[in-house]
């Protein structure tokens, strides 16, 4: 909202420097966004709020400054040249919807000479960023931006039958607006009509036909008050936001309507107009003034200050409230109609705070009588999980929750995507059902921009529409690795990433989270190349997927490199109780390691070997690792060679070589029978 220094001076005697005035405006919350100095004036662009329609006119802003500085508001009277005729003789106003139009004021001005506005008026109009049109339209805007009371002017000769009807639109009615567009009206919209047809959409926009033209001589001035909700719904439906609708939907001052009509008429007299006798003012259900109780104790208690009762009275009186002291330091405040925002004690306390000055309120730490113990440590665990992934060299990304329905189709996640009713764009019109499409896009983006390796993860929600119209959101972890894992240096050759880089990270995650090691089972899934993916299981339950991205999918992104990805259901995983951490005594006695190399049928997967090794009925076996695995022509065809290092330890004594030899023999015979191994 643009405010001019000189315009404010119509209402108060100001003698501040432009900067001082800006400081004043900032203090009371009318934040100055820009200050523009012209030759004769200073124009402030100030921030206004949805609950303060009174500040959408210069008078309202002047009242705030007057209160802050202790200045009086100038009283202005609106003199007019009178016609012989009474307003009601010239126009017949009927309000058919008093709930949607609680007050309607009007005057007729005759004998006008429509033309360009005089310089003073043009300057006012230009200062607030509008284009001067003609003196009548400019006056309406001048009054609107003075009082925050929208004014509409009709060419009297265009009002058929001399009748103004405030009624709801009829089905099929249309209006060509002042902006030149044709709008279709619907029956819940309030219109200003004559005998036959709508002339204006009430409180939103006027019609072209009844608008002021150069040939207009007689004008009907409308200064009314309309129901905010109705105006808002109509404006939204028509896709229009006008200076009038902006004010009405926030709540115009019901008592500004008569003033607006008089002021408009008075200024129009400067252009030869003469005004009808007696203001038409239909206000069938006058509003009782609102009252609010105010306690000094509550003011000080909520703000943490000590204000003088005098200050309270002075400030609120300055703002137009009428205070009646009921008891000591307890008032009943009558709220002026222009302050639609003041309804409760807290609202009045804010007024005190604004004028007291937020900067004068002391700064104190918030006291606490007790602290709550952190309950679930979910966030902490997720952060720890991030750190494991950082350690594995994965960078974190964050993608939008939105997805492109065409891409979703391609991926076939198996979940039904949630659609947005009013998306920002068609490419963002559903919610993602998987984190992987986003990660793949990130990989492509980076491969196209010099990245030789992309190792990324995201922690975030995916969304799906479930049975019974349940809209579900679920926290997942997506991980992707592709390209070089490390570049060649003088010390080591370059390393390409692989499936096991990803699998290792996931295994470490489970360890960190305090769960048993996950198991992996082959699975076919639309994301992954056939035979190249596993499901990740904890105990018996699937908690994720891992595999090589399907080539068909990769091709859609022009992605040529193999990319491995995994998606873990964190919501599922984190609700499981981790194994409690328990300290284990440091071994007192040394252990012994033994290596075993054997050949085994190449068709047997490692998982099976591992299971057998874990099941070995031998004592003192602390751990085993496979340290070599190869398949060579020199070996028996169809076999594969494994080398396993076993590590044995007795907790209470040093193991004897002979004991370990016996155990190894036992292992060999066990494996020979269970896995048909042959020693190398």
């Amino acid at each position: 909202m643009k405010i001019c220094y000189s315009w404010l001076k119509e209402f108060i005697d100001l003698s501040l420097s432009p900067e001082e005035l800006a400081d004043c405006l900032n203090q009371i919350g009318l934040m100055v966004e820009t200050i523009k100095k012209t030759d004769e004036d200073i124009i402030y662009d100030i921030e206004t709020y949805a609950n303060r329609p009174d500040t959408l006119g210069h008078l309202g802003v002047a009242r705030e400054i007057a209160t802050l500085l202790g200045l009086p508001i100038k009283t202005r009277s609106w003199r007019v040249q009178m016609l012989e005729e009474a307003t009601t003789d010239l126009i017949d106003v009927q309000i058919q919807e008093p709930l949607l139009c609680p007050r309607y004021c009007g005057l007729v001005v005759k004998g006008l000479k429509v033309g360009p506005s005089p310089e003073w008026l043009r300057k006012r109009i230009e200062a607030i960023g509008l284009r001067p049109i003609n003196n009548v339209v400019d006056v309406s805007n001048y009054v609107c931006f003075s009082l925050a009371q929208p004014i509409h002017t009709f060419d009297l000769s265009r009002i058929e039958g001399g009748q103004i009807k405030i009624r709801k639109a009829r089905k099929g009615e249309c209006l060509r607006t002042l902006e030149g567009s044709q709008v279709e009206l619907t029956p819940e919209m309030l219109v200003i009509a004559d005998q036959n047809k709508p002339l204006a959409v009430a409180g939103v926009i006027g019609g072209e036909e009844s608008g002021i033209t150069e040939t207009t001589t007689d004008v009907f001035i409308e200064s009314a008050n309309f129901n905010p909700t109705s105006i808002r719904q109509t404006a939204k439906k028509l896709g229009l936001s006008t200076d009038a609708s902006y004010r009405f939907e926030r709540g115009a001052d019901i008592n500004a309507a008569p003033v607006g009509a008089s002021m408009t008429a008075s200024v129009l007299c400067e252009f030869g107009g003469r005004v009808s006798q007696g203001l038409f003012d239909a206000y069938p259900m006058p509003r009782r003034p609102k009252t609010v109780n105010l306690r000094l104790k509550k003011i000080n208690g909520l703000l943490g200050i000590t204000v003088e009762p005098d200050f309270v009275v002075r400030t609120l009186t300055g703002l137009g409230l009428k205070l009646k002291e009921q008891n000591e330091n307890f008032w009943i405040a009558e709220i002026p109609t222009f302050r639609v925002d003041l309804e409760r004690e807290a609202d009045l306390i804010e007024e005190i705070a604004r004028f007291y000055g937020y900067d004068r309120i002391p700064s104190q730490v918030t006291p606490a009588n007790s602290f709550t113990l952190p309950g679930e440590r979910k966030r902490e665990r997720i952060w720890g999980l991030r750190e494991i992934l950082f350690h594995h060299g994965f960078d974190e990304v964050i993608n939008f929750s939105f997805a492109d329905p065409e891409k979703e189709q391609l991926w076939q996640s198996g979940f039904q995507a949630i659609k947005l009713q009013n998306p920002v764009s068609s490419k963002m019109s559903v919610l993602r059902t998987s984190l992987l499409p986003g990660l793949v896009e990130n990989a492509v983006w980076n491969f196209n921009r010099e990245a030789e390796g992309v190792h990324i993860f995201e922690v975030g929600n995916v969304y799906s529409l479930e049975q019974d119209n349940l809209h579900r959101e679920r926290l997942k972890l997506g991980i992707l690795t592709g390209g070089l894992r490390s570049q060649r240096t003088w010390k080591q050759p370059e390393q390409e990433t692989d499936f096991f880089v990803l699998k290792g990270a996931i295994e470490d995650l489970f360890t960190y989270l305090g769960y048993d090691s996950p198991s992996f089972e082959p699975i076919e899934h639309p994301f992954f190349q056939s035979g190249q993916s596993l499901e990740v299981l904890l105990k018996q339950d699937t908690v994720g997927l891992i595999g090589l991205l399907k080539t068909d999918l990769a091709r859609n992104y022009d992605l040529e490199r193999p990319v491995f990805c995994a998606e873990i259901d964190l919501a599922e995983l984190l609700q499981r109780q981790p194994r409690p951490f328990k300290f284990q005594a440091i071994p007192k006695f040394p252990g012994i390691s033994r290596d075993l190399s054997f050949l085994i049928d190449a068709a047997i997967p490692y998982q099976q070997i591992k299971q057998q090794l874990e099941k070995l009925p031998v004592p003192y076996l602390e751990k085993f690792t496979i340290y070599d695995r190869f398949q060579r022509k020199s070996l028996v065809p169809g076999t594969i060679s494994y080398s396993v290092r076993f590590f044995f330890r007795h907790s209470d004594r040093t193991l004897q070589t002979e004991e370990v030899d016996r155990i190894i023999q036992e292992i060999i015979s066990q494996l020979k029978s269970s896995l048909k191994i042959t020693l190398r």
Binding site: M31, N51, Q364, T366, D395, F400, P423, V424, W490
Partner: protein, 344 residues
């Protein structure tokens, strides 16, 4: 025979002379090489000679040679004990070559910044709460004192799923959810993703991150709000940062305050400043005393309890703190951008 014995005697003399002169471990190794070296060690050569002797001669020579070898070996190991190891390690040729660096993954700047904020509040005894991203109109608006069809909703332009469900436009609905479940005193923060129907531009995107704070207790004042937020912003931006509290409007707080911080880019010195537009101030968060209507909506008596709340856009604050010119960088996930943040 005598020649061999003579040679041994000479070598023994030589060996023990040299052994006596040893001053560092490297000399021990040199001595070992001199006598036991695989090809040209004196003793190795003597054993070569031994091969050519007659079986008769071999008998004594073998014993003498082996005795000599044992003698040398035991002296060498004694010397090794006295002048330990380093001599056996190959010296590094060029210490100025680059070290082996480990690549440590980078956190996303939003996560990083959010954690920074969380930690400040956790240090003040706050706990962290979360809530759903798909919300109802009630929690997102009504319970927070946004009347239906009120222009106040315009600043929270909403993405709807259907007539009842929407994507939360702020983290404030979680305030309501927590207050419905837990009794005061409360001191919580709520970080999370929020959504607005915004056309993307350098400072607006349809998704971003917010953090919300809420304190509810007996006797909570506006002064407490000021003091705590001042502490928070100083912890985040440095002790010397200047702050400004000014009146504002939010449906769910009354009185409301917006907090500006001094522009850390120009400190108010550049009228053309790209960051603050020359005003010297940057809007950083919205706050206020919890509106009595909000308390009533969750059955907390505003005559007994009071509270303060704030909300801050993490993206914009991080942009300001790190001087990132474009908000979309956060969601493009260019690794040349992300990877800068493993240094923070």
């Amino acid at each position: 025979m005598s020649t061999l014995q003579d040679k041994i005697n000479n070598y023994r003399q030589l060996f023990f002379d040299r052994a006596a002169a040893v001053k560092e471990s490297q000399q021990v190794e040199e001595l070992r090489q001199l006598f036991l070296g695989r090809k040209k060690g004196y003793l190795t050569l003597l054993f070569e000679e031994f091969k050519n002797l007659s079986p008769e001669e071999k008998k004594t020579a073998g014993r003498v040679l082996n005795e000599f070898k044992t003698e040398i070996q035991s002296k060498l190991s004694e010397l090794e004990k006295n002048f330990p190891v380093s001599g056996t390690i190959t010296p590094i040729e060029d210490l100025t070559l680059p070290g082996r660096q480990l690549y440590w993954g980078a956190p996303h700047p939003i996560t990083l910044f959010e954690r920074k904020i969380e930690n400040i509040f956790i240090s003040m005894g706050f706990s962290v709460e979360e809530g759903p991203e798909i919300e109802t109109d009630y929690y997102n608006f009504e319970a927070l004192n946004f009347p239906p069809d009120h222009p106040a909703r315009d600043s929270w332009d909403t993405l709807y799923i259907n007539d009842k469900l929407l994507l939360r436009t702020h983290t404030s609905p979680v305030q309501i959810r927590v207050m419905e479940k837990k009794k005061p005193p409360l001191r919580i923060i709520i970080p999370g993703r929020v959504f607005r129907r915004e056309t993307p531009d350098p400072t607006h995107l349809p998704m971003f991150y917010q953090v919300e704070g809420l304190v509810v207790d007996k006797g909570i004042t506006f002064a407490h709000l000021k003091g705590t937020l001042e502490f928070f912003l100083k912890a985040l931006f440095g002790e010397k940062i200047r702050l400004r509290f000014r009146p504002s409007f939010f449906p769910f707080t009354e009185p409301s305050a917006e907090v500006d911080i001094e522009c850390i880019v120009c400190r108010g010195q550049n009228p053309e400043c790209r960051v603050c537009g020359g005003s010297g101030w940057k809007e950083i968060l919205g706050s206020g005393m919890v509106d009595p209507q909000v308390f009533k909506n969750v059955n907390i008596d505003p005559e007994i309890y009071s509270g303060w709340a704030f909300g801050l856009g993490i993206d914009r604050t991080a942009m300001f703190a790190f001087q990132i010119p474009e908000m979309r960088y956060f969601y493009e996930n260019d690794l040349r951008f992300i990877r800068q943040f493993n240094r923070k």
